[in-house]
C-alpha cells in the first residue's frame, strides 16, 4: 500500500510536468502563429478594436442589423443560454413579446415572415450570427434609417452571407458584426 502511495505521488508530479506545463505551453507557443495570435480573431475599424469576429455584441440601435436575443445581454465576461423549457409559460410570453417588438420596428412584416432565430435566445448568449432570412427582414428598416436604397443594403447582405463549410456542410449564416462594420463603411 505504502509503495503505491509513493508511486502515485511521484507519478502525479511527473505527469503534471508533461500535461500541465509542456503540453499547454507548446500549444500556446505554436498558437502565436494563428490569425489572432492565440487570443481569438479581432475586428478593427480605424485601428481600434471594435470586437471579436467570433463573439456577438449587442445591437439595438435602429441603424444596425440586430443579432439574436441573449440571456447574458452579450456580456462576454460570462456566457449562458436561457435554459427555458419549451412549455414554460413565462418563456412563451417572452417570445411573444419579442415578436411584438420586432413587428413594432418593422411594421412592414407579417408574423409568418419572422424566423425563429430572431425571437429565441442562443445557447451561449454570444451567438455572432443570424440566418440569411433574419438579415433579410431587417433590410427595409436599415435602408430607411440610413437613407440608403433597399437594393444597396440587400446587396451588402448577400455579400456577407457565408456559405456552408466547403459549400456542403452545415448551415449558412450572416456575421452581424462584420455586416454592421461594412454598413458603416458604405457610402451613400
Amino acid at each position: 500500500m505504502k509503495k503505491y502511495i509513493i508511486q502515485s505521488i511521484r507519478l502525479t508530479v511527473a505527469l503534471t510536468l508533461l500535461l500541465c506545463v509542456v503540453y499547454p505551453l507548446l500549444v500556446a507557443f505554436i498558437g502565436k502563429l494563428s490569425t489572432g495570435k492565440g487570443n481569438g480573431e479581432t475586428i478593427s475599424v480605424n485601428g481600434k478594436i471594435v470586437g471579436y469576429a467570433a463573439l456577438g455584441q449587442k445591437f439595438d440601435q435602429p441603424k444596425y442589423f440586430w443579432g439574436r436575443p441573449s440571456a447574458v445581454d452579450y456580456n462576454a465576461a460570462g456566457s449562458a443560454g436561457s435554459n427555458k423549457g419549451p412549455t414554460n409559460p413565462d418563456y412563451l410570453k417572452q417570445v411573444s413579446d419579442r415578436v411584438d417588438t420586432l413587428l413594432k420596428y418593422h411594421p412592414y412584416l407579417k408574423k409568418t415572415d419572422i424566423p425563429a432565430d430572431m425571437v429565441t435566445a442562443s445557447g451561449s448568449g454570444l451567438d455572432p450570427d443570424i440566418s440569411a432570412a433574419a438579415a433579410a427582414i431587417q433590410v427595409r428598416r436599415i435602408a430607411q434609417n440610413r437613407g440608403l436604397s433597399v437594393e444597396q443594403v440587400t446587396k451588402l447582405v448577400e455579400e456577407h452571407t457565408e456559405k456552408p463549410l466547403a459549400g456542403m456542410f452545415g448551415p449558412g449564416k450572416v456575421n452581424v458584426l462584420k455586416l454592421n462594420v461594412a454598413l458603416d463603411a458604405l457610402k451613400k
Partner: protein, 572 residues
C-alpha cells in the same frame, strides 16, 4: 440534399474512418506489439523512472484495483485543497475567488471521475492555475484510468487461464503518451488556428460599435477543449461549453469536436475484439451499440427539426428547427446529433442547451445516460457493457438450462451477484436521488441554503421535475451535461451529486474488473457443441433485449413523470 444533413453524415463517416484503424492500433499497442508510436518509449521510460515504477510487474485484479484507487484518492485530496485556496495561488489574472468547501467537494470528485458536472462557471469560478493543473490534468488522467481498467478486462480474456491482469501503471501511462496526448496536441492546434484562444493573457477588452465597453473572458482554452473531447470529459472552459463561439468557433470545429469525442469509445470496442483474438465478438458488440445509438439519435433529430409547437402556434417560421438554446452556425440538426452522442458516450459537453430542447429529445438524452453502455465513456463504456453481457449470458444459460459460460469460463453465483448489484445500483442512485430532491423541494422549500430549494427550478411543472431527474442521472452516469437551468451550486446538490458521482464511477469499474479477474482464474473449458456462442448476431440481439428490458423496467416511471408528461401537454 440539405447541407445540415450532409454535415452530420460526413461527421459520422469520418468518425468510422478514424475509429476502426484506431481500434486495431490500440489492441496492438496495449499488447506490447510493435507499433509506429514506439518512438515515444524513451518518454515513458523517463516517466516510470521519475515515478519509481516497474511497468513489467504483473498485478492480479486486487493489486490492479488498489493501485488505481490509491492514485485516484490522492488526486481527490490534493485537488480539493487547491480548489479551496485557488484565490491565494498564482495564475489568477481575473482575480477569481476560492471555492466553498461543498463546491470544491463536488468539483474535485466530478473531475476525478471523468464526469465534469460543473456547478460553477469556468470564466469566474476557476483560475488559470486550477483550470490547467487540476481540471485539465484530471481530464487526461481520468480518461486514462478508465482506459487502463478496460485493458485489464481485455487482458483477462486474452489467455486461457491467468491471474495477471497486466500492470495498471503501464496501461495508464501508455494511454496518455500513446493516445490521449498526441491526439490532444493535434486537436488543440486545429482549434487554435480556427479562432479558439490558447494564450495566457487575461480578459480582453473592446468598445463595441454601439459604444459599450465589453470584457472578454479568454485564456488557454484550446488545450483543455481538446482533451475534454478526446477523453470524453466534457467540462467547458467557458460556462456555455461548446456552444460558446470561442470554444467552438465554426462548423469545422464543431465537426472536429463531435468526431473526437466518439473515436476512442468506438475504437475501444473493436480493440477488445482484436486484443482477445475474437474479432467477431468486437464487431457484434459494435453492431449492437450502433443500433442503440441510431434508435436514440433518429427520434432526437426529428423532434428538434420539428421545432417547438408552442412557437409554431404563434405563427413564427422554424425553417431549420427549434432554435432556443442553439447557435446559428451549428444549427438544430448538428445539435441534435451531438446531444445523442454526448449522452451515450458520457462526454457531457454540449453545443446547445439541453434544458431548452423538446420534451422527447430530453427523454432520449436521459435514456442514453441511463443505459450508459452504447459506446460509453473512455474505457468505462466497455466495462458497463460487460455487465450487460454477464446478465445476458446468465439469462441465456437459464433459458437453455445449462451452466452459463463466457469465453470459456464458467459464470457462477459470485460473478452474477456482482453483476446484478451493479445493475441495480444505477436505478437506485438515480431514483433515490431524484426522490430526495423532490421531497426537499416540496417539504423544505425555504431551507436557508445558497439557493433556496423553492428557487431551484428554472422551469415549472413536468419540466422542472426533468431538471432534477437529469442532474441525478447525469451524475450517476458520469456524464456531466445538465439541464443547466437548475440552481445547483448549493449544499444539497453539491453533496448529493458528489456521492452519486463517486459511487456511480468506482463501483461500475470495480465490479467488472473483479468479475473479469475471477473468471480469468477459472479453468478454461474448450468450446464444444453445447457452448453458448457469444459472438453471434443472435446473442447480440439477446444482449440488446436485456438492455432494453432492464432499462425500461427501471426508468419508465420516472421518464413518464418528466419528459413524457411534458410531451403530452404540448399542442399537437
Amino acid at each position: 440534399m440539405n447541407s445540415e444533413f450532409l454535415g452530420i453524415v460526413a461527421s459520422f463517416l469520418i468518425t468510422l474512418l478514424i475509429a476502426i484503424p484506431l481500434g486495431r492500433y490500440l489492441a496492438k499497442m496495449f499488447a506490447g506489439e510493435r507499433v509506429w508510436t514506439d518512438f515515444l518509449k524513451p518518454l515513458e521510460i523517463g516517466i516510470f523512472k521519475l515515478a519509481g515504477i516497474r511497468p513489467d510487474e504483473p498485478m492480479d485484479w486486487k493489486q490492479f484495483l488498489k493501485a488505481m484507487l490509491t492514485i485516484n484518492l490522492l488526486w481527490l485530496v490534493y485537488g480539493f485543497f487547491v480548489l479551496i485556496y485557488q484565490d491565494k495561488l498564482p495564475f489568477n489574472p481575473d482575480g477569481n475567488p476560492g471555492m466553498t468547501p461543498d463546491l470544491a467537494f463536488n468539483t474535485i470528485i466530478s473531475f476525478v471521475v471523468n464526469c465534469n458536472l460543473q456547478h460553477y462557471s469556468g470564466e469566474s469560478g476557476l483560475t488559470y492555475l486550477t483550470q490547467q493543473f487540476i481540471i485539465m490534468f484530471l481530464m487526461f488522467t481520468s480518461a486514462a484510468t478508465g482506459i487502463a481498467c478496460a485493458v485489464a478486462l481485455f487482458k483477462a480474456f486474452r489467455d486461457k487461464t491467468t491471474t495477471n491482469l497486466g500492470n495498471f501503471w503501464e496501461f495508464f501511462v501508455k494511454s496518455i503518451t500513446r493516445l490521449l496526448l498526441p491526439l490532444s496536441i493535434v486537436m488543440a492546434l486545429l482549434l487554435t488556428f480556427n479562432g479558439t484562444p490558447a494564450s495566457y493573457e487575461g480578459k480582453g477588452q473592446f468598445i463595441s460599435l454601439q459604444g459599450d465597453t465589453v470584457n472578454v473572458s479568454r485564456g488557454p482554452a484550446a488545450q483543455m477543449i481538446a482533451i475534454k473531447h478526446i477523453g470524453t470529459n466534457g467540462g467547458g472552459w467557458f460556462g456555455a461549453n461548446s456552444s460558446h463561439p470561442l470554444e467552438n468557433p465554426n462548423y469545422f470545429t464543431n465537426m472536429v469536436e463531435i468526431i473526437s469525442q466518439m473515436i476512442i469509445p468506438m475504437a475501444m470496442i473493436l480493440a477488445f475484439g482484436y486484443f482477445i483474438r475474437r474479432k467477431k465478438l468486437g464487431w457484434v458488440i459494435f453492431g449492437v451499440m450502433m443500433v442503440g445509438m441510431f434508435m436514440l439519435m433518429i427520434p432526437t433529430i426529428s423532434s428538434e427539426l420539428g421545432g417547438n409547437p408552442n412557437i409554431a402556434k404563434m405563427g413564427i417560421q422554424q425553417a431549420s428547427g427549434a432554435m432556443e438554446g442553439k447557435e446559428v452556425r451549428i444549427g438544430p440538426m448538428a445539435t441534435g446529433y451531438w446531444s445523442t452522442l454526448t449522452t451515450i458516450v458520457s462526454t457531457g459537453s454540449v453545443n446547445g442547451m439541453h434544458d431548452s430542447t423538446m420534451p422527447l429529445t430530453g427523454a432520449w438524452q436521459l435514456l442514453g445516460m441511463m443505459i450508459n453502455g452504447f459506446f460509453g465513456g473512455c474505457g468505462v463504456g466497455i466495462l458497463n457493457y460487460f455487465i450487460y453481457l454477464i446478465i445476458a449470458v446468465f439469462i441465456s444459460g437459464l433459458m437453455v438450462g445449462r451452466t452459463p459460460e463466457f469465453l470459456g469460463h464458467k459464470v457462477e453465483a459470485r460473478e452474477v451477484k456482482i453483476a446484478a448489484l451493479i445493475t441495480l445500483l444505477s436505478p437506485f442512485l438515480i431514483m433515490a436521488g431524484t426522490a430526495l430532491a423532490s421531497y426537499v423541494f416540496v417539504a423544505h422549500g425555504n431551507a436557508d441554503w445558497a439557493v433556496k430549494p423553492s428557487a431551484w427550478l428554472n422551469n415549472p411543472g413536468y419540466h422542472g421535475f426533468s431538471e432534477m431527474l437529469y442532474e441525478m442521472t447525469s451524475a450517476n452516469a458520469n456524464n456531466g451535461s445538465g439541464f443547466e437551468g437548475l440552481g445547483d451550486n448549493n449544499i444539497f446538490w453539491n453533496v448529493s451529486t458528489g456521492f452519486l458521482l463517486i459511487l456511480g464511477r468506482f463501483l461500475p469499474i470495480i465490479g467488472p474488473v473483479a468479475i473479469a479477474g475471477l473468471l480469468a482464474k477459472k479453468k478454461f473449458i474448450p468450446e464444444s457443441a453445447g457452448t453458448l456462442k457469444t459472438d453471434t448476431v443472435t446473442f447480440g440481439l439477446m444482449t440488446f433485449a436485456v438492455i432494453l428490458v432492464l432499462n425500461a423496467l427501471s426508468y419508465f416511471p420516472a421518464l413518464a413523470l418528466g419528459p413524457i408528461a411534458e410531451y403530452f401537454s404540448m399542442p399537437k
